[in-house]
Protein backbone atom coordinates (compact mmCIF):
# COMPACT_ATOMS: atom_id res chain seq x y z
CA UNK A 1 0.00 0.00 0.00
CA UNK A 2 2.69 2.46 1.01
CA UNK A 3 4.74 1.94 -2.09
CA UNK A 4 1.62 2.16 -4.26
CA UNK A 5 1.23 5.68 -2.95
CA UNK A 6 4.89 6.36 -3.53
CA UNK A 7 4.62 5.09 -7.08
CA UNK A 8 1.52 7.24 -7.63
CA UNK A 9 3.36 10.30 -6.30
CA UNK A 10 6.28 9.71 -8.65
CA UNK A 11 3.81 9.52 -11.49
CA UNK A 12 2.35 12.89 -10.49
CA UNK A 13 5.74 14.49 -10.99
CA UNK A 14 6.23 12.70 -14.29
CA UNK A 15 4.51 15.00 -16.71
CA UNK A 16 5.05 18.40 -15.10
CA UNK A 17 3.16 20.43 -17.62
CA UNK A 18 0.07 18.30 -17.30
CA UNK A 19 0.19 18.18 -13.53
CA UNK A 20 0.55 21.95 -13.41
CA UNK A 21 -2.45 22.29 -15.70
CA UNK A 22 -4.51 20.13 -13.34
CA UNK A 23 -3.18 22.01 -10.34
CA UNK A 24 -4.05 25.42 -11.78
CA UNK A 25 -7.49 24.33 -12.87
CA UNK A 26 -8.41 22.89 -9.49
CA UNK A 27 -6.84 25.83 -7.67
CA UNK A 28 -8.87 28.34 -9.68
CA UNK A 29 -12.17 26.55 -9.16
CA UNK A 30 -11.52 26.08 -5.45
CA UNK A 31 -10.53 29.71 -4.95
CA UNK A 32 -13.77 30.71 -6.66
CA UNK A 33 -15.65 28.39 -4.31
CA UNK A 34 -13.96 29.73 -1.19
CA UNK A 35 -14.54 33.29 -2.26
CA UNK A 36 -18.18 32.51 -3.02
CA UNK A 37 -18.53 30.86 0.37
CA UNK A 38 -17.10 33.96 2.03
CA UNK A 39 -19.42 36.19 0.05
CA UNK A 40 -22.47 34.03 0.73
CA UNK A 41 -21.81 33.84 4.45
CA UNK A 42 -21.34 37.63 4.55
CA UNK A 43 -24.56 37.94 2.58
CA UNK A 44 -26.43 35.54 4.85
CA UNK A 45 -25.09 37.30 7.94
CA UNK A 46 -26.46 40.56 6.59
CA UNK A 47 -29.70 38.94 5.46
CA UNK A 48 -30.34 37.25 8.81
CA UNK A 49 -29.58 40.45 10.68
CA UNK A 50 -31.88 42.51 8.51
CA UNK A 51 -34.62 39.92 8.33
CA UNK A 52 -34.67 39.57 12.12
CA UNK A 53 -33.83 43.08 13.27
CA UNK A 54 -37.41 44.38 13.36
CA UNK A 55 -38.64 41.08 14.73
CA UNK A 56 -36.83 38.79 17.14
CA UNK A 57 -33.17 39.49 16.45
CA UNK A 58 -30.72 36.59 16.55
CA UNK A 59 -31.89 35.80 20.06
CA UNK A 60 -35.01 37.01 21.84
CA UNK A 61 -35.57 36.98 25.58
CA UNK A 62 -39.27 37.27 26.39
CA UNK A 63 -41.98 35.94 28.68
CA UNK A 64 -43.04 32.39 27.90
CA UNK A 65 -46.63 33.50 27.45
CA UNK A 66 -45.52 36.19 25.02
CA UNK A 67 -43.55 33.64 22.97
CA UNK A 68 -46.66 31.43 22.74
CA UNK A 69 -48.73 34.32 21.36
CA UNK A 70 -45.95 36.30 19.72
CA UNK A 71 -47.75 36.87 16.43
CA UNK A 72 -50.34 38.98 18.24
CA UNK A 73 -47.56 41.01 19.89
CA UNK A 74 -49.28 41.16 23.32
CA UNK A 75 -47.96 43.81 25.73
CA UNK A 76 -49.46 42.08 28.77
CA UNK A 77 -46.66 39.50 29.21
CA UNK A 78 -43.41 41.29 29.94
CA UNK A 79 -39.86 40.76 31.13
CA UNK A 80 -39.49 42.50 34.47
CA UNK A 81 -36.23 44.28 35.34
CA UNK A 82 -34.57 43.94 31.90
CA UNK A 83 -31.51 45.87 33.05
CA UNK A 84 -30.45 43.17 35.48
CA UNK A 85 -30.81 40.48 32.81
CA UNK A 86 -28.74 42.54 30.36
CA UNK A 87 -26.08 43.10 32.99
CA UNK A 88 -25.94 39.37 33.71
CA UNK A 89 -25.53 38.60 30.01
CA UNK A 90 -22.74 41.10 29.61
CA UNK A 91 -20.92 39.70 32.63
CA UNK A 92 -20.52 36.24 31.04
CA UNK A 93 -17.42 36.59 28.84
CA UNK A 94 -18.36 33.55 26.70
CA UNK A 95 -21.61 35.31 25.79
CA UNK A 96 -20.32 38.88 25.78
CA UNK A 97 -17.67 38.23 23.14
CA UNK A 98 -20.30 36.86 20.74
CA UNK A 99 -22.64 39.81 21.14
CA UNK A 100 -22.83 42.79 18.83
CA UNK A 101 -25.83 44.51 20.37
CA UNK A 102 -28.50 44.09 23.06
CA UNK A 103 -31.64 46.16 22.84
CA UNK A 104 -34.76 46.03 25.06
CA UNK A 105 -37.90 46.56 23.02
CA UNK A 106 -41.65 46.80 22.90
CA UNK A 107 -43.43 46.15 19.62
CA UNK A 108 -47.16 46.59 19.30
CA UNK A 109 -49.88 47.14 16.78
CA UNK A 110 -51.76 50.46 16.65
CA UNK A 111 -54.58 51.88 14.61
CA UNK A 112 -53.73 55.32 13.24
CA UNK A 113 -56.51 57.71 12.14
CA UNK A 114 -56.23 61.05 10.41
CA UNK A 115 -58.82 63.03 8.50
CA UNK A 116 -61.16 60.06 8.54
CA UNK A 117 -58.45 57.75 7.09
CA UNK A 118 -57.54 54.62 9.08
CA UNK A 119 -54.41 52.48 8.83
CA UNK A 120 -53.04 49.82 11.11
CA UNK A 121 -49.35 50.19 11.89
CA UNK A 122 -46.60 48.46 13.76
CA UNK A 123 -44.93 50.52 16.45
CA UNK A 124 -41.31 49.69 17.32
CA UNK A 125 -40.09 51.12 20.60
CA UNK A 126 -36.51 50.72 21.69
CA UNK A 127 -33.59 52.76 22.96
CA UNK A 128 -33.21 55.28 20.07
CA UNK A 129 -29.43 55.33 20.39
CA UNK A 130 -29.09 51.53 20.26
CA UNK A 131 -31.61 51.27 17.43
CA UNK A 132 -29.37 53.52 15.35
CA UNK A 133 -27.18 50.44 14.92
CA UNK A 134 -30.02 48.01 14.47
CA UNK A 135 -33.05 49.47 12.74
CA UNK A 136 -30.78 52.07 11.12
CA UNK A 137 -33.81 54.23 10.30
CA UNK A 138 -31.79 57.41 10.91
CA UNK A 139 -30.14 56.68 7.56
CA UNK A 140 -33.42 56.78 5.69
CA UNK A 141 -34.99 59.97 7.04
CA UNK A 142 -36.31 62.12 4.19
CA UNK A 143 -35.12 65.75 3.94
CA UNK A 144 -37.04 68.07 6.20
CA UNK A 145 -37.17 65.56 9.04
CA UNK A 146 -34.88 64.18 11.71
CA UNK A 147 -34.35 61.06 13.82
CA UNK A 148 -35.76 60.58 17.35
CA UNK A 149 -34.10 62.72 19.99
CA UNK A 150 -36.55 63.38 22.84
CA UNK A 151 -39.81 62.36 24.46
CA UNK A 152 -42.93 62.17 22.26
CA UNK A 153 -40.82 62.11 19.08
CA UNK A 154 -42.12 59.76 16.40
CA UNK A 155 -40.85 58.80 12.97
CA UNK A 156 -43.08 57.18 10.41
CA UNK A 157 -42.79 55.19 7.17
CA UNK A 158 -43.14 57.52 4.17
CA UNK A 159 -45.79 55.42 2.40
CA UNK A 160 -47.79 55.08 5.59
CA UNK A 161 -47.62 58.86 6.12
CA UNK A 162 -48.72 59.47 2.58
CA UNK A 163 -51.75 57.19 2.98
CA UNK A 164 -52.79 59.01 6.13
CA UNK A 165 -51.83 62.47 4.80
CA UNK A 166 -49.42 63.01 7.66
CA UNK A 167 -46.54 65.49 7.42
CA UNK A 168 -43.52 66.27 9.53
CA UNK A 169 -44.65 68.40 12.47
CA UNK A 170 -48.14 66.87 12.67
CA UNK A 171 -49.43 65.51 15.96
CA UNK A 172 -50.35 61.83 16.18
CA UNK A 173 -52.87 60.72 18.81
CA UNK A 174 -52.01 57.11 19.53
CA UNK A 175 -54.66 55.07 21.29
CA UNK A 176 -54.09 51.45 22.31
CA UNK A 177 -54.79 49.04 25.15
CA UNK A 178 -52.00 48.73 27.67
CA UNK A 179 -50.67 45.91 29.83
CA UNK A 180 -53.47 46.67 32.26
CA UNK A 181 -56.03 45.93 29.48
CA UNK A 182 -57.31 49.55 29.72
CA UNK A 183 -57.26 51.99 26.78
CA UNK A 184 -54.64 54.72 26.92
CA UNK A 185 -53.95 57.73 24.77
CA UNK A 186 -50.69 59.56 24.15
CA UNK A 187 -49.83 62.36 21.78
CA UNK A 188 -46.69 62.24 19.62
CA UNK A 189 -45.10 64.65 17.19
CA UNK A 190 -43.89 63.44 13.81
CA UNK A 191 -40.26 64.57 13.60
CA UNK A 192 -39.33 62.65 10.48
CA UNK A 193 -40.45 60.31 7.70
CA UNK A 194 -38.29 57.41 6.60
CA UNK A 195 -38.05 55.79 3.21
CA UNK A 196 -35.95 52.62 3.27
CA UNK A 197 -37.10 51.21 -0.04
CA UNK A 198 -38.36 48.15 1.81
CA UNK A 199 -42.13 47.80 1.96
CA UNK A 200 -42.17 46.12 5.37
CA UNK A 201 -40.82 49.36 6.80
CA UNK A 202 -42.22 52.11 4.64
CA UNK A 203 -45.84 50.87 4.47
CA UNK A 204 -46.59 50.05 8.07
CA UNK A 205 -43.83 50.86 10.55
CA UNK A 206 -43.31 53.67 13.04
CA UNK A 207 -40.61 54.11 15.65
CA UNK A 208 -40.84 55.79 19.07
CA UNK A 209 -38.68 55.82 22.17
CA UNK A 210 -38.87 52.96 24.70
CA UNK A 211 -39.85 55.14 27.68
CA UNK A 212 -42.73 56.71 25.72
CA UNK A 213 -44.00 53.21 24.96
CA UNK A 214 -43.61 52.09 28.59
CA UNK A 215 -45.63 55.15 29.62
CA UNK A 216 -48.34 54.60 26.99
CA UNK A 217 -48.67 50.90 27.71
CA UNK A 218 -48.24 51.16 31.48
CA UNK A 219 -45.56 48.47 31.60
CA UNK A 220 -43.44 50.30 34.16
CA UNK A 221 -39.75 49.34 33.85
CA UNK A 222 -40.58 46.06 32.17
CA UNK A 223 -40.13 45.44 28.47
CA UNK A 224 -41.76 43.02 26.09
CA UNK A 225 -38.55 41.59 24.61
CA UNK A 226 -34.80 41.84 24.82
CA UNK A 227 -33.31 41.56 21.34
CA UNK A 228 -29.75 40.28 20.95
CA UNK A 229 -27.72 40.56 17.75
CA UNK A 230 -24.59 38.42 17.42
CA UNK A 231 -21.40 38.87 15.48
CA UNK A 232 -22.04 35.52 13.83
CA UNK A 233 -25.60 34.35 13.24
CA UNK A 234 -24.42 30.74 13.18
CA UNK A 235 -23.68 30.78 16.90
CA UNK A 236 -27.21 31.75 17.90
CA UNK A 237 -28.28 28.34 19.20
CA UNK A 238 -25.12 27.93 21.21
CA UNK A 239 -25.31 31.43 22.77
CA UNK A 240 -29.05 31.07 23.43
CA UNK A 241 -28.39 27.86 25.38
CA UNK A 242 -25.73 29.57 27.43
CA UNK A 243 -27.98 32.55 28.26
CA UNK A 244 -30.90 30.25 29.05
CA UNK A 245 -28.76 28.36 31.54
CA UNK A 246 -28.02 31.63 33.34
CA UNK A 247 -31.64 32.67 33.80
CA UNK A 248 -33.40 31.14 36.79
CA UNK A 249 -36.84 32.70 36.18
CA UNK A 250 -38.81 29.89 34.50
CA UNK A 251 -41.43 32.23 33.07
CA UNK A 252 -38.76 33.79 30.86
CA UNK A 253 -37.77 32.11 27.64
CA UNK A 254 -34.73 32.53 25.39
CA UNK A 255 -35.33 31.77 21.71
CA UNK A 256 -32.88 31.65 18.82
CA UNK A 257 -33.83 33.02 15.39
CA UNK A 258 -33.60 29.49 14.04
CA UNK A 259 -36.85 28.74 15.89
CA UNK A 260 -38.73 31.88 14.93
CA UNK A 261 -40.46 32.55 11.62
CA UNK A 262 -39.21 31.16 8.30
CA UNK A 263 -35.93 33.06 8.00
CA UNK A 264 -34.10 29.93 9.05
CA UNK A 265 -35.75 27.78 6.37
CA UNK A 266 -34.80 30.40 3.78
CA UNK A 267 -31.20 30.45 4.94
CA UNK A 268 -30.99 26.66 4.92
CA UNK A 269 -32.44 26.60 1.41
CA UNK A 270 -30.01 29.25 0.13
CA UNK A 271 -27.12 27.41 1.74
CA UNK A 272 -28.18 24.09 0.16
CA UNK A 273 -28.47 25.67 -3.27
CA UNK A 274 -25.03 27.18 -2.97
CA UNK A 275 -23.57 23.87 -1.84
CA UNK A 276 -24.71 22.34 -5.13
CA UNK A 277 -23.30 25.27 -7.05
CA UNK A 278 -19.96 24.66 -5.32
CA UNK A 279 -20.07 21.00 -6.29
CA UNK A 280 -20.64 21.98 -9.93
CA UNK A 281 -17.77 24.49 -9.90
CA UNK A 282 -15.47 21.95 -8.25
CA UNK A 283 -16.50 19.34 -10.82
CA UNK A 284 -15.60 21.72 -13.64
CA UNK A 285 -12.18 22.19 -12.07
CA UNK A 286 -11.71 18.50 -11.43
CA UNK A 287 -12.89 17.52 -14.88
CA UNK A 288 -9.49 18.26 -16.38
CA UNK A 289 -8.03 15.66 -14.02
CA UNK A 290 -10.25 13.08 -15.63
CA UNK A 291 -8.80 13.92 -19.05
CA UNK A 292 -5.27 13.99 -17.77
CA UNK A 293 -5.67 10.62 -16.10
CA UNK A 294 -7.21 9.22 -19.26
CA UNK A 295 -4.12 10.29 -21.22
CA UNK A 296 -1.83 8.90 -18.54
CA UNK A 297 -3.56 5.52 -18.65
CA UNK A 298 -3.22 5.31 -22.44
CA UNK A 299 0.41 6.35 -22.33
CA UNK A 300 1.32 3.87 -19.65
CA UNK A 301 -0.40 0.81 -21.08
CA UNK A 302 2.85 -1.12 -21.36
CA UNK A 303 3.77 -0.27 -17.78
CA UNK A 304 0.35 -1.32 -16.52
CA UNK A 305 0.84 -4.61 -18.37
CA UNK A 306 4.22 -5.11 -16.73
CA UNK A 307 2.86 -4.36 -13.26
CA UNK A 308 0.00 -6.78 -13.81
CA UNK A 309 2.35 -9.45 -15.16
CA UNK A 310 4.31 -9.08 -11.92
CA UNK A 311 1.18 -9.86 -9.96
CA UNK A 312 -0.28 -6.43 -9.28
CA UNK A 313 -3.93 -7.01 -8.55
CA UNK A 314 -6.69 -5.16 -10.36
CA UNK A 315 -7.44 -3.30 -7.12
CA UNK A 316 -3.83 -2.22 -6.69
CA UNK A 317 -3.71 -0.71 -10.17
CA UNK A 318 -7.02 1.01 -9.41
CA UNK A 319 -5.74 2.48 -6.16
CA UNK A 320 -2.54 3.64 -7.79
CA UNK A 321 -4.39 5.74 -10.35
CA UNK A 322 -6.99 6.97 -7.87
CA UNK A 323 -4.26 8.17 -5.54
CA UNK A 324 -2.59 9.96 -8.42
CA UNK A 325 -5.80 11.79 -9.33
CA UNK A 326 -6.57 12.54 -5.70
CA UNK A 327 -3.11 13.95 -5.10
CA UNK A 328 -3.58 16.35 -8.02
CA UNK A 329 -6.93 17.40 -6.56
CA UNK A 330 -5.62 17.75 -3.03
CA UNK A 331 -2.64 19.94 -3.87
CA UNK A 332 -4.75 22.08 -6.21
CA UNK A 333 -7.42 22.42 -3.52
CA UNK A 334 -4.91 23.57 -0.91
CA UNK A 335 -3.61 26.26 -3.22
CA UNK A 336 -7.14 27.28 -4.20
CA UNK A 337 -8.26 27.54 -0.60
CA UNK A 338 -5.23 29.67 0.25
CA UNK A 339 -5.94 32.00 -2.67
CA UNK A 340 -9.68 32.19 -1.98
CA UNK A 341 -9.08 32.62 1.75
CA UNK A 342 -6.68 35.49 1.12
CA UNK A 343 -9.20 37.31 -1.09
CA UNK A 344 -11.93 36.81 1.50
CA UNK A 345 -9.60 38.27 4.14
CA UNK A 346 -8.93 41.32 1.99
CA UNK A 347 -12.62 41.94 1.31
CA UNK A 348 -13.39 41.29 4.94
CA UNK A 349 -11.00 44.05 5.95
CA UNK A 350 -12.30 46.60 3.45
CA UNK A 351 -15.91 45.49 3.04
CA UNK A 352 -17.78 45.16 -0.23
CA UNK A 353 -19.78 48.34 -0.85
CA UNK A 354 -23.04 47.46 -2.56
CA UNK A 355 -24.76 50.84 -2.10
CA UNK A 356 -25.04 51.37 -5.84
CA UNK A 357 -27.03 48.14 -6.29
CA UNK A 358 -29.10 48.33 -3.12
CA UNK A 359 -32.03 50.26 -4.60
CA UNK A 360 -32.66 47.39 -7.02
CA UNK A 361 -32.60 44.71 -4.34
CA UNK A 362 -35.83 44.03 -2.52
CA UNK A 363 -34.40 41.81 0.22
CA UNK A 364 -33.22 43.51 3.39
CA UNK A 365 -29.40 43.86 3.38
CA UNK A 366 -26.71 46.15 4.74
CA UNK A 367 -25.08 48.44 2.22
CA UNK A 368 -21.64 47.03 2.92
CA UNK A 369 -21.06 43.26 2.96
CA UNK A 370 -18.23 41.70 4.93
CA UNK A 371 -17.31 38.29 3.49
CA UNK A 372 -16.29 35.85 6.20
CA UNK A 373 -14.87 32.36 6.21
CA UNK A 374 -14.41 29.75 8.90
CA UNK A 375 -12.37 26.58 9.39
CA UNK A 376 -15.43 24.55 8.40
CA UNK A 377 -15.55 26.23 4.96
CA UNK A 378 -11.88 25.54 4.41
CA UNK A 379 -12.10 21.88 5.39
CA UNK A 380 -15.26 21.45 3.33
CA UNK A 381 -13.56 22.94 0.26
CA UNK A 382 -10.40 20.86 0.49
CA UNK A 383 -12.42 17.68 1.03
CA UNK A 384 -14.73 18.61 -1.84
CA UNK A 385 -11.84 19.24 -4.25
CA UNK A 386 -10.04 16.05 -3.26
CA UNK A 387 -13.07 13.78 -3.26
CA UNK A 388 -14.27 15.05 -6.64
CA UNK A 389 -10.78 14.60 -8.09
CA UNK A 390 -10.88 11.00 -6.88
CA UNK A 391 -14.36 10.53 -8.30
CA UNK A 392 -13.46 11.79 -11.77
CA UNK A 393 -10.40 9.51 -11.71
CA UNK A 394 -12.51 6.42 -11.16
CA UNK A 395 -13.25 5.88 -14.84
CA UNK A 396 -9.63 6.14 -16.05
CA UNK A 397 -8.42 4.08 -13.08
CA UNK A 398 -10.97 1.36 -13.83
CA UNK A 399 -9.85 1.33 -17.43
CA UNK A 400 -6.27 0.81 -16.30
CA UNK A 401 -7.24 -1.87 -13.78
CA UNK A 402 -9.31 -3.81 -16.28
CA UNK A 403 -6.71 -3.73 -19.04
CA UNK A 404 -5.92 -7.04 -20.70
CA UNK A 405 -2.31 -7.84 -19.83
CA UNK A 406 -1.38 -9.45 -23.14
CA UNK A 407 -2.71 -6.49 -25.16
CA UNK A 408 -1.13 -3.99 -22.78
CA UNK A 409 2.29 -5.56 -23.08
CA UNK A 410 2.18 -5.61 -26.88
CA UNK A 411 1.72 -1.84 -26.96
CA UNK A 412 4.78 0.35 -26.74
Amino acid sequence: MFSLIRLAMRNVGRNRRRSILAFVSVAISLSVIVFAQGFVSGFVQSFVKNATKNDAGHIRIAAKKFEERSRFLPVTYTVPRPDSIIRAIERDPAVAREIELVSPRITFGVLLSNNGLNKSALALAGDPEKEKNLLLLQKSILPGGRYLSGPRDLILGSALAKNLRYRVGDTVRMMTSGSDYALHLKKFVIVGLFSTGMNVFDDRMLQIGLSDAQDLLRTGDAVQQIIIMLKNYRNADMVANRIRAGISDTSICVTSWTHIGDTYTTVVLVTRIYEWIYVVIALLGAFIISNIMMMAVLERRKEIGILKSMGFRRSQVLIMFLVEGMALGFVGSLAGVALGGASVAIFHAYGLDLTAYMSRISIPLDNVLYPTIGAANIIYSVVLGTVLAALVSVAPARQAAGMNVVDAIKSV
Binding site: L7, E303, I306, S309, G311, F312, R313, S315, V412
Partner: protein, 229 residues
Protein backbone atom coordinates in the same frame (compact mmCIF):
# COMPACT_ATOMS: atom_id res chain seq x y z
CA UNK B 1 6.46 -34.88 -11.74
CA UNK B 2 7.47 -32.05 -14.10
CA UNK B 3 7.49 -28.46 -12.84
CA UNK B 4 5.36 -27.39 -15.76
CA UNK B 5 3.16 -29.78 -17.69
CA UNK B 6 1.57 -28.39 -20.83
CA UNK B 7 -1.12 -30.76 -22.07
CA UNK B 8 -2.62 -30.48 -25.52
CA UNK B 9 -2.84 -26.69 -25.35
CA UNK B 10 -4.73 -25.04 -28.19
CA UNK B 11 -5.26 -21.34 -28.73
CA UNK B 12 -7.46 -19.82 -31.36
CA UNK B 13 -8.05 -16.14 -32.01
CA UNK B 14 -11.29 -15.14 -33.63
CA UNK B 15 -11.37 -12.18 -35.93
CA UNK B 16 -14.91 -11.75 -37.22
CA UNK B 17 -15.73 -15.05 -38.93
CA UNK B 18 -12.06 -15.92 -39.55
CA UNK B 19 -10.22 -17.78 -36.85
CA UNK B 20 -6.44 -17.85 -36.45
CA UNK B 21 -4.86 -20.85 -34.78
CA UNK B 22 -1.89 -19.65 -32.70
CA UNK B 23 -1.29 -23.01 -30.99
CA UNK B 24 -2.62 -26.27 -32.32
CA UNK B 25 -2.20 -28.82 -29.55
CA UNK B 26 1.11 -28.33 -27.76
CA UNK B 27 2.40 -31.00 -25.36
CA UNK B 28 5.46 -30.14 -23.34
CA UNK B 29 6.88 -31.06 -19.93
CA UNK B 30 9.48 -28.80 -18.32
CA UNK B 31 11.54 -29.98 -15.35
CA UNK B 32 12.88 -27.84 -12.55
CA UNK B 33 16.20 -26.21 -13.39
CA UNK B 34 15.87 -26.44 -17.16
CA UNK B 35 17.30 -23.77 -19.43
CA UNK B 36 14.98 -24.04 -22.35
CA UNK B 37 14.78 -22.07 -25.54
CA UNK B 38 11.70 -21.81 -27.76
CA UNK B 39 12.63 -20.96 -31.30
CA UNK B 40 10.65 -20.51 -34.44
CA UNK B 41 9.81 -17.90 -37.03
CA UNK B 42 7.71 -14.89 -36.25
CA UNK B 43 4.06 -15.85 -35.88
CA UNK B 44 4.82 -19.45 -34.93
CA UNK B 45 3.17 -19.05 -31.50
CA UNK B 46 6.14 -18.45 -29.16
CA UNK B 47 4.61 -15.45 -27.36
CA UNK B 48 1.23 -17.11 -27.12
CA UNK B 49 2.77 -20.19 -25.49
CA UNK B 50 4.78 -18.13 -22.98
CA UNK B 51 1.75 -16.01 -22.08
CA UNK B 52 -0.34 -19.10 -21.46
CA UNK B 53 2.39 -20.73 -19.38
CA UNK B 54 2.68 -17.48 -17.37
CA UNK B 55 -1.07 -17.26 -16.66
CA UNK B 56 -1.37 -14.01 -18.62
CA UNK B 57 -3.60 -15.71 -21.16
CA UNK B 58 -5.86 -18.75 -21.10
CA UNK B 59 -5.82 -21.60 -23.63
CA UNK B 60 -8.87 -22.27 -25.79
CA UNK B 61 -8.52 -25.90 -24.73
CA UNK B 62 -5.99 -28.07 -22.95
CA UNK B 63 -4.38 -27.37 -19.62
CA UNK B 64 -1.19 -26.24 -17.91
CA UNK B 65 -0.19 -27.93 -14.64
CA UNK B 66 2.19 -26.30 -12.19
CA UNK B 67 3.77 -28.89 -9.90
CA UNK B 68 0.82 -31.08 -10.78
CA UNK B 69 -1.72 -28.39 -9.97
CA UNK B 70 -4.16 -27.17 -12.59
CA UNK B 71 -4.88 -23.44 -12.43
CA UNK B 72 -7.83 -23.47 -14.82
CA UNK B 73 -10.56 -22.47 -12.41
CA UNK B 74 -8.78 -19.64 -10.59
CA UNK B 75 -10.23 -16.12 -10.40
CA UNK B 76 -8.41 -13.13 -11.84
CA UNK B 77 -7.18 -12.14 -8.40
CA UNK B 78 -5.98 -15.66 -7.57
CA UNK B 79 -4.08 -15.71 -10.86
CA UNK B 80 -2.51 -12.33 -10.01
CA UNK B 81 -1.40 -13.74 -6.68
CA UNK B 82 -0.08 -16.91 -8.32
CA UNK B 83 2.01 -14.84 -10.74
CA UNK B 84 3.23 -12.69 -7.89
CA UNK B 85 4.43 -15.71 -5.92
CA UNK B 86 5.75 -18.03 -8.63
CA UNK B 87 6.36 -16.50 -12.02
CA UNK B 88 8.60 -13.78 -13.38
CA UNK B 89 8.53 -12.22 -16.83
CA UNK B 90 11.14 -10.54 -18.96
CA UNK B 91 9.88 -8.84 -22.10
CA UNK B 92 11.54 -7.68 -25.26
CA UNK B 93 11.93 -4.05 -24.17
CA UNK B 94 10.68 -1.26 -21.90
CA UNK B 95 10.51 -3.67 -19.00
CA UNK B 96 11.19 -1.09 -16.31
CA UNK B 97 8.99 1.46 -14.58
CA UNK B 98 10.55 4.75 -15.68
CA UNK B 99 9.80 6.72 -12.48
CA UNK B 100 11.52 4.18 -10.24
CA UNK B 101 15.26 3.74 -9.79
CA UNK B 102 17.02 0.47 -10.60
CA UNK B 103 16.80 -0.63 -6.97
CA UNK B 104 13.14 0.36 -6.65
CA UNK B 105 12.32 -1.52 -9.85
CA UNK B 106 14.05 -4.62 -8.52
CA UNK B 107 12.31 -4.26 -5.15
CA UNK B 108 8.86 -3.99 -6.71
CA UNK B 109 8.10 -7.77 -6.72
CA UNK B 110 9.06 -7.92 -3.03
CA UNK B 111 7.00 -4.86 -2.19
CA UNK B 112 3.82 -6.46 -3.50
CA UNK B 113 4.64 -9.72 -1.71
CA UNK B 114 4.58 -7.72 1.54
CA UNK B 115 6.71 -10.28 3.34
CA UNK B 116 9.88 -8.30 3.93
CA UNK B 117 11.05 -5.28 5.86
CA UNK B 118 12.47 -2.29 4.01
CA UNK B 119 16.00 -3.27 4.97
CA UNK B 120 15.52 -6.88 3.82
CA UNK B 121 14.12 -5.71 0.50
CA UNK B 122 17.01 -3.33 -0.06
CA UNK B 123 19.54 -6.00 0.84
CA UNK B 124 18.01 -8.64 -1.46
CA UNK B 125 17.67 -6.15 -4.31
CA UNK B 126 21.24 -4.89 -4.01
CA UNK B 127 22.61 -8.45 -3.92
CA UNK B 128 20.86 -9.47 -7.11
CA UNK B 129 21.74 -6.17 -8.84
CA UNK B 130 25.37 -6.91 -7.96
CA UNK B 131 25.12 -10.44 -9.34
CA UNK B 132 23.92 -9.26 -12.77
CA UNK B 133 26.95 -6.96 -12.85
CA UNK B 134 25.22 -3.65 -12.16
CA UNK B 135 26.70 -2.94 -8.74
CA UNK B 136 26.93 0.84 -8.32
CA UNK B 137 24.00 1.56 -10.61
CA UNK B 138 21.27 0.93 -8.07
CA UNK B 139 20.23 4.57 -7.83
CA UNK B 140 20.06 5.27 -11.54
CA UNK B 141 16.84 5.77 -13.41
CA UNK B 142 16.01 3.49 -16.38
CA UNK B 143 16.55 6.32 -18.87
CA UNK B 144 20.19 6.49 -17.79
CA UNK B 145 20.82 2.86 -18.76
CA UNK B 146 21.74 1.18 -22.05
CA UNK B 147 19.46 -1.46 -23.57
CA UNK B 148 21.67 -4.29 -22.30
CA UNK B 149 21.75 -2.81 -18.80
CA UNK B 150 17.97 -2.47 -18.82
CA UNK B 151 17.60 -6.16 -19.65
CA UNK B 152 19.99 -7.04 -16.85
CA UNK B 153 17.84 -5.06 -14.44
CA UNK B 154 14.86 -6.99 -15.78
CA UNK B 155 16.72 -10.25 -15.03
CA UNK B 156 17.54 -8.99 -11.53
CA UNK B 157 13.91 -8.07 -10.96
CA UNK B 158 12.82 -11.51 -12.17
CA UNK B 159 15.25 -13.29 -9.87
CA UNK B 160 14.82 -11.24 -6.70
CA UNK B 161 11.83 -13.23 -5.49
CA UNK B 162 13.24 -16.67 -6.42
CA UNK B 163 10.41 -17.63 -8.75
CA UNK B 164 9.45 -21.12 -9.87
CA UNK B 165 10.12 -20.11 -13.44
CA UNK B 166 11.41 -17.10 -15.39
CA UNK B 167 9.68 -16.60 -18.71
CA UNK B 168 11.50 -14.38 -21.20
CA UNK B 169 9.88 -13.43 -24.48
CA UNK B 170 12.62 -12.55 -26.97
CA UNK B 171 14.69 -10.78 -24.32
CA UNK B 172 17.53 -10.08 -26.74
CA UNK B 173 15.57 -9.03 -29.81
CA UNK B 174 16.33 -5.34 -29.33
CA UNK B 175 20.02 -5.77 -28.54
CA UNK B 176 23.13 -5.96 -30.71
CA UNK B 177 24.66 -9.43 -30.81
CA UNK B 178 27.47 -8.89 -28.25
CA UNK B 179 25.08 -7.40 -25.71
CA UNK B 180 22.59 -10.15 -26.49
CA UNK B 181 25.23 -12.81 -25.80
CA UNK B 182 26.00 -11.03 -22.55
CA UNK B 183 22.39 -11.07 -21.43
CA UNK B 184 21.92 -14.74 -22.33
CA UNK B 185 25.11 -15.73 -20.54
CA UNK B 186 23.95 -13.92 -17.41
CA UNK B 187 20.71 -15.87 -17.59
CA UNK B 188 22.72 -19.02 -18.08
CA UNK B 189 24.91 -18.27 -15.07
CA UNK B 190 21.86 -17.61 -12.90
CA UNK B 191 20.41 -20.91 -14.08
CA UNK B 192 23.56 -22.74 -12.99
CA UNK B 193 24.13 -20.81 -9.75
CA UNK B 194 20.57 -20.66 -8.48
CA UNK B 195 18.98 -23.57 -10.35
CA UNK B 196 16.23 -21.21 -11.50
CA UNK B 197 14.17 -22.56 -14.39
CA UNK B 198 14.38 -20.37 -17.50
CA UNK B 199 12.17 -20.56 -20.56
CA UNK B 200 13.04 -18.02 -23.22
CA UNK B 201 11.98 -17.51 -26.78
CA UNK B 202 14.15 -16.22 -29.58
CA UNK B 203 14.19 -16.15 -33.34
CA UNK B 204 17.93 -15.56 -33.36
CA UNK B 205 19.63 -18.85 -34.14
CA UNK B 206 22.90 -17.71 -32.50
CA UNK B 207 21.23 -17.63 -29.12
CA UNK B 208 20.09 -21.23 -29.27
CA UNK B 209 23.47 -22.68 -28.64
CA UNK B 210 23.36 -21.51 -25.01
CA UNK B 211 20.26 -23.60 -24.34
CA UNK B 212 20.28 -27.10 -22.90
CA UNK B 213 17.04 -27.86 -24.65
CA UNK B 214 15.56 -26.29 -27.77
CA UNK B 215 11.92 -26.50 -28.76
CA UNK B 216 11.19 -25.51 -32.33
CA UNK B 217 7.70 -24.22 -33.03
CA UNK B 218 6.16 -24.02 -36.48
CA UNK B 219 2.61 -22.91 -37.17
CA UNK B 220 1.62 -23.40 -33.56
CA UNK B 221 2.94 -26.93 -33.21
CA UNK B 222 6.19 -28.41 -31.87
CA UNK B 223 8.33 -29.43 -34.79
CA UNK B 224 11.48 -30.47 -32.91
CA UNK B 225 12.50 -31.06 -29.28
CA UNK B 226 16.31 -31.35 -28.96
CA UNK B 227 18.45 -31.81 -25.86
CA UNK B 228 22.13 -31.04 -25.58
CA UNK B 229 24.78 -31.82 -23.05
Amino acid sequence: MPLLDIRNVKKEYRKGDKSVTALSGVNLAIEKGEFLSIVGPSGSGKSTLLNIVGCLDTPTSGSVLYNGRELGGLSEQQLSDYRRDNIAFIFQSYNLIPVLTVRENVELPLVIERKYSKAEMAQKALAVIESVGLGGMADRLPKELSGGQEQRVAIARALVKDPLVVLADEPTANLDSTTAEDVISIMQRMNTERATTFVFSTHDLRMERHAKRIITLRDGAIEKDERRQ
